[in-house]
């Protein structure tokens, strides 16, 4: 346990060492929020507008909610696993008496901690500047369920990152490409980071909600806002947990296969 605490500390410091790196990353996050915020703000410029069941205050609350959830769920270093594999550095870690996955999970938590601090600051600043209508949840049960959904989201994202990184076992030249395609393009679109899933036509909604992606951002935010209640929350949590399980098995399975392929090429 102590060694993971060390990993946490070092990972935290490392992000500071690449301070420019980190600052830029936060700046980019802020720009994303700007785009989304202003887009929706404009669509709802007329205060009477209601689109797909959202009015101005609801949608802007959604946008701001995304900020925090993103910091919690999608700040992660585990994507770097693919370059560990591609460059043969994986060997160093396999030799150490520390589970590789636990190592990376700790690094992810460290990253989330750091990002959360900054996201909170940005939240306050942007709140003052942009003055969105924001709904503060007070129902304890809802908050608890929100917390559960976040935990599930963190695991789902972590498993996805490892699965995508595993591609590198068989295709080292894809260390960046795989993440570009899945982690960035697909996840961004379907997780609810750009728009709430329920603005899509119903059929599309069903399809998307069957994938693991909306449970990363859309579902947690909606739970927090109280837009999903009762049975729907339960249903969502069950699907999220199911995906958690499926991805966990898939991840371990593929990883084992990958390690064998990795060792056989003797890198």
């Amino acid at each position: 346990m102590k060694k993971y605490l060390q990993v946490f500390k070092i990972s935290f410091q490392e992000e500071f060492a690449y301070k420019l790196n980190f600052v830029m990353w936060r700046v980019r996050n802020v720009f994303q929020i700007f785009l989304t915020f202003f887009l929706w703000s404009t669509i709802f410029a007329n205060p009477q507008t209601v689109v797909f069941g959202y009015d101005r205050s609801k949608i802007l609350t959604y946008v701001f909610g995304i900020m925090i959830v993103r910091a919690l769920v999608m700040s992660a270093r585990a994507a770097d696993i693919s370059s560990d594999i591609a460059q043969g550095d994986l060997s160093n870690y396999l030799l150490k008496p520390m589970t590789y996955f636990k190592y990376w999970f700790t690094r992810d938590i460290s990253s989330k901690a750091l990002n959360l601090i900054f996201a909170a600051v940005e939240f306050v600043l942007l709140f003052i500047i942009l003055q969105p209508p924001f709904y503060f949840q007070i129902n304890l049960l809802t908050l608890f369920l929100f917390f559960v959904s976040i935990v599930l989201a963190v695991f789902i994202y972590f498993f996805i990152l490892i699965l995508v990184s595993s591609l590198t076992f068989w295709a080292p030249e894809l260390s960046w490409g795989g993440h570009f395609l899945i982690t960035i393009v697909v996840v961004e679109a379907l997780s609810g980071a750009l728009f709430p899933i329920n603005i899509l036509p119903t059929t599309f909604q069903y399809i998307v909600m069957a994938t693991p992606f909306p449970y990363l951002i859309y579902f947690p935010v909606q739970v927090y806002l109280g837009n999903i209640t009762g049975q729907a929350i339960l249903g969502g949590l069950i699907i999220a947990s199911a995906w958690c399980g499926i991805l966990w098995f898939a991840m371990n399975f593929i990883w084992q296969k990958g390690i064998k392929a990795y060792e056989s090429t003797g890198r």
């Binding site: 410091q13 500071f16 060492a17 301070k19």
Partner: protein, 334 residues
């Protein structure tokens, strides 16, 4: 075919100064924050006002310890670095202006570094260079054939560069650099990392290129053999200042007055007697290092072998950096 140049000095360097600014960083988190808010800069004086001239057709060795300023000088002569002050002229051009007319007459080759496109066969880089240097087709084909034959690279001209060995890559590198028959050639550590045979081949080629085409060549190296084989004239630089500029023989005889004998002894008695053989530089049993005057090397060695239980013995030259540092410290009697 000998190139006649109309210039009477190929390279002129007059009181060249080059300073670099480096930012200082303190360790730790507070250091990182400090360096963000009030960055500290330190000035490094890479070249402290050096002067020399080189005639067309000379082959000059430019030597010194790491960080002495050799590469900085070469890079300033090729127009890569901007002089802090002083005067530099190559073939009567200011290299900093990087005029195409000058660039078409010079070439820079750096050991272990490639201008070749990594994933493609070398021939593609050659073709690109042909377009860049505007070499007429007939001339290009002639030069290419000449270089391919001389460097024996015909077999792998179509192999992707990343699949070649270092020695093969360096030969390709030379070809790419010489396709336009430059009159001035800057070579930065051309033999570094090469095995002994490849080194020798490189040296032979450079020698031929200099004598047959009358090209002016400046060569930097850490390798003593590069110098003894090639350079008739040697410029010694250390910490940004010139220490010596003259014939190689003079340098060696002037400064390398000793040779080093390294021995491994079987027994530890009477070690004091070692001091009669020569200057004991290091004694950590069973290894001993003794410096002896050049002329007395054979005598000293045989004395050592006769009077001591020697298991293993080697005779070496004093490393050139030692000579240079000695000169700089004024330790060696001239």
């Amino acid at each position: 075919m000998l190139y006649t140049t109309s210039v009477d000095k190929a390279i002129i360097v007059d009181r060249l100064v080059k300073d670099f600014e480096v930012s200082q960083k303190e360790p730790g988190l507070s250091g990182a924050i400090k360096s963000l808010l009030s960055p500290k800069k330190k000035t490094i004086h890479a070249l402290k006002g050096i002067s020399f001239t080189i005639q067309p057709g000379e082959l000059v060795g430019f030597i010194g310890p790491n960080g002495a300023g050799k590469t900085t000088t070469l890079k300033t002569l090729s127009g890569l670095l901007y002089p802090s002050s002083g005067f530099v002229e190559v073939l009567e051009y200011d290299p900093w202006e990087r005029k195409p007319e000058l660039l078409k007459q010079i070439a820079l080759v750096m050991g272990q570094k490639n201008q070749l496109w990594w994933d493609l066969p070398a021939i593609e880089t050659f073709e690109l260079n042909r377009a860049i240097y505007e070499i007429p087709t007939r001339v290009y084909n002639e030069n290419l054939k000449e270089l391919v034959d001389l460097l024996e690279i015909g077999k792998f001209i179509n192999t992707p560069v990343r699949k070649l060995s270092l020695g093969q890559r360096m030969r390709m590198e030379l070809t790419a650099a010489l396709l336009h028959k430059p009159k001035v050639l800057f070579l930065d550590e051309p033999t570094i990392g090469l095995d002994l045979i490849a080194q020798q081949k490189m040296r032979d080629f450079i020698y031929d290129y200099n004598t047959e085409f009358g090209a002016t060549i400046i060569l930097t190296s850490h390798n003593m053999d590069d110098l003894t084989d090639l350079a008739r004239r040697v410029i010694v630089i250390d910490e940004g200042a010139l220490l010596f500029d003259g014939a190689l023989e003079e340098l060696v005889s002037k400064f390398a007055k000793e040779k080093i004998i390294k021995a491994r002894l079987a027994g530890g008695e009477n070690l004091k007697g070692l001091e009669n053989i020569g200057k004991v530089k290091k004694l950590s049993f069973p290894e001993v290092i003794i410096a002896v005057p050049r002329e007395a090397t054979a005598v000293a060695a045989s004395e050592l072998l006769q009077n001591f239980p020697v298991e293993d013995l080697t005779i070496e030259e004093v490393p050139i950096e030692d000579i240079i540092r000695k000169v700089f410290r004024g330790e060696l009697a001239r």
